[in-house]
């Protein structure tokens, strides 16, 4: 929690998260190709690119799920390249997964509470039953309410509809009160009507939280993002503001063109 930015820091827009010459190779495949990237505090940044461009691989390295082949990752100027997933999480990096990573046999309330317990260092308490800290349980319930999951907080996670599982995935990430939130295709597979809700929740996050959104739905991307990076074959193809990217002919050709064609 010590890394949480103050409002003053937001204005200076110093980079929260940086990568320098980041490379990741899987055997012969270069999934991340020399990516030097900087995420300003409070960013609303979208990471786009065709399938297999290396978006998930990039986020996996930021969150520590994968270690890079070479290059460095900095959080608030501190080299975190070799930090564990846990250490990064505690330093304020939270993420959602492209493929749901949930506790199928637990309830949404338990799922979120587990994350809150960790954040509050309450999870090593082994004698008093869960629920004694009603403040934490209430916080978990309130968070689930924000994602419209109030009616299923005691249901089995595995029995929830896919769209609601996606929402829970976000709730769990938010429970850590992160400084940087990495959302890997949060709306993929979610029915049209529920996609807006995900966007609303993301939009309602406090300004000092820095966001990276990976998303294929261009409509959603342009509604959410102020800045974008386009990743192609593991390398940063082009970066810029929403308008710059929207009007960039190369992007239209490489990425948006493909999108348009695939939509026909």
């Amino acid at each position: 929690m010590s890394f949480v930015q103050t409002a003053a820091a937001v204005e200076t827009a110093s980079p929260v998260l940086q990568t320098k010459a980041l490379c990741k190779a899987f055997g012969g495949i270069t999934a991340t190709d020399n990516v030097t990237f900087s995420l300003p505090a409070g960013a609303r940044h979208a990471l786009i690119g065709p399938n297999g461009a290396g978006k998930t691989t990039f986020v996996n390295q930021l969150s520590g799920v994968l270690l890079p082949t070479s290059g460095t990752i900095l959080l608030n100027g501190v080299d975190i390249t070799n930090w564990s997933v846990r250490a990064r999480s505690r330093a304020g990096i939270a993420r959602t997964f492209q493929i749901n990573q949930l506790y199928a046999d637990l309830t949404p309330l338990q799922s979120v509470l587990i994350a809150i317990n960790e954040r509050e260092n309450a999870a090593s308490s082994w004698f008093k039953p869960v629920g004694v800290r009603s403040d934490l349980v209430d916080e978990a319930a309130a968070l689930l309410a924000r994602l419209s999951l109030s009616d299923v907080i005691h249901a089995r996670v595995g029995s929830l509809a896919y769209g609601r599982q996606r929402l829970l995935e976000i709730a769990i990430a938010l429970a850590a009160k992160p400084q940087v939130l990495l959302l890997d295709e949060p709306a993929a597979g979610v029915p049209e009507g529920e996609r807006d809700q995900i966007l609303d929740v993301v939009a309602a996050l406090p300004a000092h939280v820095s966001l990276i959104l990976i998303e294929h739905d261009m409509d959603l991307v342009f509604r959410f993002a102020k800045t974008l990076s386009v990743l192609v074959n593991g390398a940063l193809f082009v970066e810029g503001t929403r308008d710059e990217i929207a009007n960039d002919p190369r992007v239209r050709q490489v990425y948006l063109g493909e999108e348009v064609i695939s939509n026909v």
Binding site: L106, S111, S125
Partner: protein
């Protein structure tokens, strides 16, 4: 804290009155999950009552409780943390010999022969071995864990049989004499003292485990079992938690071993043998893992079955165990406890449907 939840939403404040159900706060609902239920009282009441119903079988009942306690220790790792082990017998054996050696050293009269101190020594020794070997099970798949725990158990078994000067080798440890429990009750021939001693120690261990699994720590174990990747991603020290529960589980297994040595006044290589590990895992699967009661109920069922089948066709005992195991695993989720829970749910649902037109 940051201001992510600065704006409490309207939904959160509104009571869930829409459903018409009485409003129970989420925290109260969670707390209710850890409250003692009538069937728990019934279970322990029956265990206590068995003293009066089967006065001639007290040693057998003590042994069943000890077996159940060993299976309960596996439930902590397998049923809650999702760690498969095939070597719990090693910790049982370490505890059995540790308690035996302490009692022998005290020669039945000295302070070292005090049974409660013996249990502490047994749990401590087994917990230490558990702690050291826990680092071997942190990595790898279920298969490597099975192999590693099995390997550790075989090593311990071999050490016990080879270190003749200390353990008595294959002859077993002779001259184990515990002094009186709390200085008052001596272990008698009928097993009366042993029964109460084992029952109370088992209950205290059970109560401890129950607190443990219902706590935030216990919930975090379920998270690790459910999805270790997610658990790490929310900042959970997954390895530290696994080391902790593996050590605790080993200590309880050792305590169970200590109980057996003290009540039988003997420690033999049979107590570290591989079949201990296999039997106790089997008992847990019979009873159902992840409920705490599975081990104890499984132990009762296992012994009754053993007696019953043993009377009819002693040579085919393993055949029947295998058959029941296959049927249980294929057709009943969660063993006997799961079966009973399902039956109860159906019963209560029917009566509910009857009441509500």
């Amino acid at each position: 804290m940051s201001a992510i939840d600065a704006k409490p939403p309207a939904e959160a404040a509104a009571p869930p009155a829409a459903s018409g159900a009485p409003a129970v706060s989420p925290a109260a609902r969670l707390l209710a999950g850890s409250r003692w239920r009538w069937y728990e009282f019934a279970f322990w009441g029956l265990a206590l009552g068995s003293y009066f119903v089967f006065p001639n079988k007290l040693m057998l009942i003590s042994e069943i409780l000890i077996l159940g306690l060993l299976a309960l220790s596996i439930d902590l790792t397998l049923g809650y943390a999702g760690l498969v082990t095939l070597g719990q017998g090693a910790f049982f054996g370490v505890g059995a010999y540790a308690a035996g050696l302490a009692a022998k050293y005290g020669a039945g009269a000295g302070p070292w022969s005090d049974p409660l101190l013996g249990l502490v020594i047994a749990a401590g020794a087994a917990g230490l071995v558990g702690f050291v070997t826990s680092f071997l099970v942190l990595r790898g798949s279920d298969l490597t864990r099975l192999m590693v725990t099995l390997g550790v158990a075989l090593i311990v078994e071999e050490i016990v049989t080879q270190a003749k000067s200390v353990t008595g080798g294959s002859d077993g440890l002779q001259g184990v004499m515990s002094s009186n429990v709390l200085g008052m009750w001596s272990f008698d021939l009928y097993g009366k003292t042993a029964f109460w001693y084992v029952l109370i120690v088992t209950f205290v261990c059970f109560w401890f485990c129950r607190r443990l699994v219902n706590s935030p720590f216990g919930l975090s174990l379920l998270a690790i079992k459910g999805n270790p990747l997610r658990a790490r991603a929310i900042g959970m020290p997954v390895n530290a938690r696994l080391v902790a529960i593996y050590t605790i589980s080993a200590a309880i297994a050792g305590l169970a071993g200590g109980l057996l040595t003290q009540t039988t006044q003997f420690a033999s290589p049979d107590m570290v043998a591989f079949h201990r590990s296999a039997d106790s895992l089997l008992i847990l699967i019979f009873g159902g893992s992840g409920h705490l009661y599975g081990g104890l109920i499984g132990a009762v069922a296992f012994r009754i079955m053993q007696d019953f089948i043993g009377n009819i066709t002693p040579q085919y005992w393993l055949f029947w165990v295998g058959l029941v195991l296959v049927l249980l695993v294929l057709f009943v989720r969660n063993g006997i406890v799961g079966l009973m829970a399902n039956g109860w749910r159906r019963l209560t649902q029917k009566s509910h449907e009857g009441k509500n037109p």
